[in-house]
Symmetry: C2
Subunit: 418 residues, 2 copies
């Protein structure tokens, strides 16, 4: 089964919006054993949309369309679908009830443009929108399928996960081969070092494929295996994963879409431990990541964002003399911050971070990118220094990743310098 | 002049890499007065690449291609270009000298695959690569232009900025029309309400174009005007912007790429004021956003992430009786948190937030999505309640946006209930 993804919207053509929808759909559809052969973007122009629909359906079995289903004048996808399939609109009672229920829940009156969301192309089976008002359409004609979804990412995602993926898996379940992927997430090791450590690729992979994907959070290893069925592909994946873990396991913190903050949270939760964080330069980035996961209140006791020196002294009992002798960006202050946050919160771990993320504020002795991470537990207080670059946003991500990696190693008893 | 962007690479089709290259090129080329009519992505397959080249050149004046120019076996774009234009490769002395100089600087020997970068399609003018080894190509034939660049983002970006944009501006400088855009950023008003408030679009726009771009942070209004030159297009943009501001100005917090946190920071900075934040449910999201901007230490004094009740009492002096009487998620606690963080930090504003972001933890009285925002200044302490949905990550973004919007209104003296 061969698919094309079409995104509709001028904002994608002029670079105002990055096309994350196409990536999400590409991944989900690939995992449903469908080959994505093409992605395209066209603007909010009926003629261009109709031409792209025709082109896509001519050489693909499945066409997935997003965008232009909203309630305002620039949303023209619904009209284009009707024109393309030469059909009219019918009122869908289920969609109307969904829209009315949604507005009732929000305590707002239903406007006319919202009610019009219930008018759907005759030719379509409706895909309910559990996150918004515009329904999606599933259209089968002449042995081909067109799926049309809103462009709002979380509305589209819910439709893909709850409706599209199950349908596609049902359609592809009798195919002759099955492809599976696993991505191992590493941090703290450069791409080239990891590559050399893993040795000869052919010996390691035995016909499977592997891609190295470097990012500010670390290097991802994507392994892809095609075999006769789900089980045999899975067995080969497991075998390769185990070989890699035996060589570089200490750098692997998770799999697939996991966040290191989620992994750290799980490790704490499993052990009945809790932590608190004192952040200067990362400004709440670590606390924010940890609290992205439901249940985090069980292991994340509190955080402080101690941007000013006064807040370091008042909230964390950092010594004023230490601040003036070594400066706020120092191993000594990082250690006192870690001890301070652990003591005031009564947590098992106190994690701290202080540094200069740029683009200004560096000196010859402490250039931009200088960061100290402190970690305090009942037995020891440590601090490490890392040197980052000059991009503030990348530095925030890298610094918070390094701090969480340090905590993960401490929880697991892996030496910090290994 | 009408353009298409083509990105080549399997990783873009399967969703492993997000196509940021197309956004960057789209923005730069649009600003060079070229109309980007289409973006497409094809895999590392010669047949697919050749078909897409033919299709793109048939209906566009300019085709910009990225990806597949590297030195390894899966980089097949150069061969595809030769096949498409039916030409051979010639050795380019300038590229060879660039490659040799680069490796000399790195202290590494030049390998055979690197030397082969100097072999370029006969039909191409070389675009030098100042950030890497693979040169780009500028190919003019039959009145159409094809530009081919590497897929590595920073190599491509240097070529676009230094070579492509100046050439395009030269080519478009005598065009009969000039297009300009402005995006107004709103928050606190739903898309459909805003649409109805703005009234008849034709009256408002007088031939200009406007797009409604909804997101969790609010609705963006992108206005596009085409007129005879830069000045007249600018004058019409300003006129439309003023009309919109006269109707919905209180919801507009910024323009183009601004973050509301940046806007709030600037307002504080201009007035010599500072703030501190006490976050429960947003877990540091507000502090993290505020500290994304260089110079934020001047107006952001500190933050606390008071996830536990103990931390609310100990750090912010929230009254234990208030906590047990009204619960942590209440207007009363939000107010005490705001007063507490303002008092301990000595800031002009204390901003607080407490709520239930889900996906668990709701009750009949306080369902998931219930959030209270508190704001304290020298004269008054207020709290507002907002009702969000059940998606934790979206709720974090929406709650932090609402809190910053409340602070912005307070700084500007706009009534909170307007």
């Amino acid at each position: 089964m061969k698919a094309q993804i079409i995104s509709i919207g001028d904002e994608l053509l002029i670079g105002q919006t990055i096309n994350t929808n196409a990536s999400f759909i590409g991944e989900q559809v690939t995992n449903s054993q469908v080959h994505v052969a093409k992605v395209s973007v066209v603007g909010d122009e009926e003629e261009e949309i109709l031409a792209e629909f025709a082109l896509a359906l001519a050489s693909h079995d499945l066409v997935l369309v997003t965008g232009g289903l909203g309630p305002t004048h620039d949303d023209i996808t619904k009209a284009a679908v009707c024109k393309f399939y030469n059909c009219g609109l019918v009122n869908n009672a289920e969609v109307l009830a969904d829209v009315q229920a949604r507005f009732q829940r929000l305590g707002r009156p239903v406007t006319k443009v919202n009610e019009e969301q219930a008018l759907v192309p005759e030719v379509a089976t409706v895909i309910r929108n559990i996150k918004g008002t515009a329904p999606g359409y599933w259209i089968e004609k002449d042995g081909k399928v067109m799926v049309v979804m809103p462009g709002v990412p979380f509305e589209m995602k819910a439709m893909v996960i709850n409706f599209i993926v199950p349908r596609l898996l049902e359609m592809t379940k009798n195919a002759a081969t099955f492809t599976r992927k696993t991505t191992l997430l590493t941090t703290g090791i450069p791409e080239s070092t990891l590559f050399e450590k893993l040795g000869d690729m052919d010996t390691l992979l035995q016909g499977a494929k592997m891609a190295f994907l470097p990012s500010p959070m670390g290097v991802k290893l994507r392994i892809t295996v095609t075999d006769k069925d789900h089980e045999s592909a899975g067995a080969r994946l497991t075998e390769i994963e185990q070989k890699i873990r035996s060589i570089a396991g200490r750098y692997i913190y998770g799999k697939n879409e996991e966040d290191l903050a989620e992994v750290v949270g799980r490790l704490l939760h499993e052990r009945g431990l809790c932590m608190a964080a004192a952040e200067s330069c990362t400004g709440g980035h670590i606390a924010n990541r940890l609290t992205n996961f439901s249940g985090s209140s069980e292991y994340f006791e509190r955080g402080v964002v101690c941007y000013s020196n006064a807040s370091k002294v008042e909230l964390l009992n950092v010594d004023e003399d230490t601040l003036s002798e070594f400066g706020a960006v120092s191993a000594e202050v990082a250690k006192q911050m870690a001890d301070g946050i652990r003591a005031i919160s009564g947590s098992d771990y106190g994690l701290s971070i202080t540094g200069i993320l740029g683009p200004t504020g560096g000196s010859a002795e402490k250039p931009i990118g200088t960061v100290f991470i402190g970690l305090s537990d009942a037995s020891v207080t440590r601090a490490i220094k890392i040197q980052l670059g000059d991009d503030r946003m990348l530095n925030k991500e890298r610094a918070s990743q390094a701090a969480l990696a340090m905590l993960r190693r401490a929880i697991l008893g892996i030496p910090l310098d290994a």
